[in-house]
Symmetry: C2
Subunit: 361 residues, 2 copies
């Protein structure tokens, strides 16, 4: 195998490793330490199973476990209670027990649903994340947020539940459609913007290499993003405070996703546009300078992400943002940028929010 | 108010009090310390809301919170994903936020579903248990097990999630149908049998007082049962070992419930019959003496609980018990009795299990 990097998420008895490298899905030795019981259920989707299902099953074969596979329909539109129940049906149908390990093979939707199923099945069974998209490698597979959408709000139903390990195979990104690659770069940009001005500059310098799926650049982006997110999560596992900064661009972004119907825009696309809106609001409220806003917008454009928001109507945006999990008693909380590496969380006057919405469409 | 007893469940930062006494539902002061946010959602059912809904809403009124009520259909048959989703619909419809407190007003089904909804809504909101049946007062509202049924198995989907407080109003038992009272006494008998020979003798001596809904006897039964369960749970919150003893009678009992269809027998009725079967198996395997078995059966009969199992067929019983959460790789684990106050957890030879099933019908 090529060079593998490991980032550890320090969460005491729930600590776990993130292994990052090329062609890791086929490596038996990476899975062996994390599978204690006699059976494994792989949860994947109709797109990913034909690409990597056999590689994973071949890697598991030498372990002598009973392996079954659940293949779900692909897409954010299926991240709901009905699809979740398909996982439970399969687990009970194959007599999965409390020691059965679930393996999430796919992107963020598969990871979020499989993690939530693992949290709930028999009140908790172990699971391993094998993220196959850039977005899930840099973001959704790190930190233990699991869940499903509700027609009235994204990720409204879920659990904090940590995996045994994350195995992020950079090689899997070779088959990723360009639109999904861009969606992943959005979360990389977010991570740099909120937490590390040096990493943000690195992204500005390397965005073309990332667009071109250059392995060294991708590995570095995944490693730095995971390190930053792991550090934030280790300080605030259950989002009592600090962790909310990871939601930069997500308040507007979730509204776009829910307003258009899940799956219309990719999550990362909505976050890209949401960051443009959050930066606009940050400037209007006097927290961020115009030059920094422009740098952020420029790199979002360079990553081929959308910067114009869909015309849902201002009142619909407000309504959707009021059900955001950060809102309290209907008061929306925004994650705003002061400078690269420094954020604040605050309510905002209606006039400025409306101005941002009007400017964004 | 009359005399109130408080049992504390010692779980570190998740510790909580169980208040036991007559006419507690109407007491504002019991709720006030446990409601931090601006809104409360009461989850109850069509039977309990007309009886105690107004009393609870009147108790909450002086706190100045926004109070909404979700009224679910009544019965174990509704303890499923579809009904759970009605709670989420209501929470999102009323814009419940991360600080909204859920109050479970009802029996075990309402408590289990409300607790699970609280565990999952926005990945966790606070909740208070107000159990209105004897079964939920002595058992299901203590210990943080929450969840729903799956057609293939009882309580298969859920979470360990502790309430802020339990308010067990003995007065509410006055309206309890005799069949439900008996079902609650089954869990009282179970608690004495597995953990405390002295309490078991007390139950033998007081079973008629309990059948007659005598308040002093009920308060004592609730207090002793909660103390014992709280002690077990404090030692093993997530059922790594010891806690499984609380499942005495439940391996057979869950099979009866799932096999007949949820709601046909009450949970406590199935546990009553399941204890008869577990005691029979305990004698067959040489762990328990016949005289103790007879004492257990006698008190179950005295509590007007069923002792003959429904004729599901032996292979169906085995199949249903193999999906029990304690089973591993299809091997069923039984909680057996050695003497009152002492249990063991073990697999059993097929011949003896079949003999018990044959004898039970």
């Amino acid at each position: 195998m090529g060079r593998m990097i490991t980032v550890n998420v320090e969460l005491g008895e729930r600590a776990y490793p993130i292994h990052i490298g090329a062609d890791l899905i086929g490596q038996t030795a990476l899975f062996a330490p994390h599978i204690a019981g006699n059976s494994v259920t792989i949860v994947t989707n109709t797109t990913v199973d034909p690409l990597y299902g056999d590689t994973l099953r071949a890697a598991l074969a030498p372990l002598g476990k009973q392996v079954s596979t659940v293949v779900l329909p692909d897409g954010e539109a299926y991240k709901n209670l009905e699809t979740l129940n398909l996982i439970f049906d399969a687990l009970l149908g194959s007599r999965a027990d409390r020691k059965t390990t679930l393996i999430a093979l796919g992107g963020g939707v598969i990871g979020d649903m499989t993690g939530f199923a693992a949290a709930c099945y028999m009140r908790g069974v172990p699971f391993i994340q094998v993220p196959t998209t850039l977005l899930s490698q840099v973001d959704s597979s790190v930190g233990g947020k699991t869940g499903i959408n509700h027609p009235l709000g994204k990720n409204m139903i879920g659990a904090f539940y940590q995996p045994q390990a994350v195995i992020a195979d950079i090689g899997a990104l070779r088959t990723l459609p360009a639109r999904e690659l861009a969606a992943g770069i959005a979360e990389v940009i977010k991570t740099g913007a909120i937490a590390d001005a040096g990493f943000f500059r690195w992204i500005e310098a390397n965005v073309e290499a990332l667009n071109g799926c250059e392995p060294t650049a991708l590995a570095e982006a995944v490693k730095r993003s995971c390190e930053i997110k792991a550090s934030v999560v280790a300080q605030d596992e259950r989002e009592g405070g600090l962790r909310a900064i990871l939601n930069f661009g997500h308040t507007f972004g979730h509204a776009i996703e829910a307003g258009l119907g899940y799956g219309e825009w990719l999550h990362g696309e909505a976050v890209g546009c949401g960051m443009v809106m959050a930066a606009d609001l940050s400037v209007r409220l006097g927290y961020l300078d115009e030059a920094s806003r422009k740098r952020l917008v420029d790199v979002i454009v360079a990553a081929h992400l959308p910067t114009r928001a869909p015309a849902l109507g201002e009142s619909r945006y407000i309504e959707l943002m009021q059900v955001d999990k950060k809102a309290e008693a209907g008061a929306i909380k925004f994650i705003l940028l002061k400078r690269f590496g420094e954020t604040l969380i605050t309510q905002a006057p209606d006039a400025e929010v409306h101005a941002t919405l009007a400017a964004a469409v």
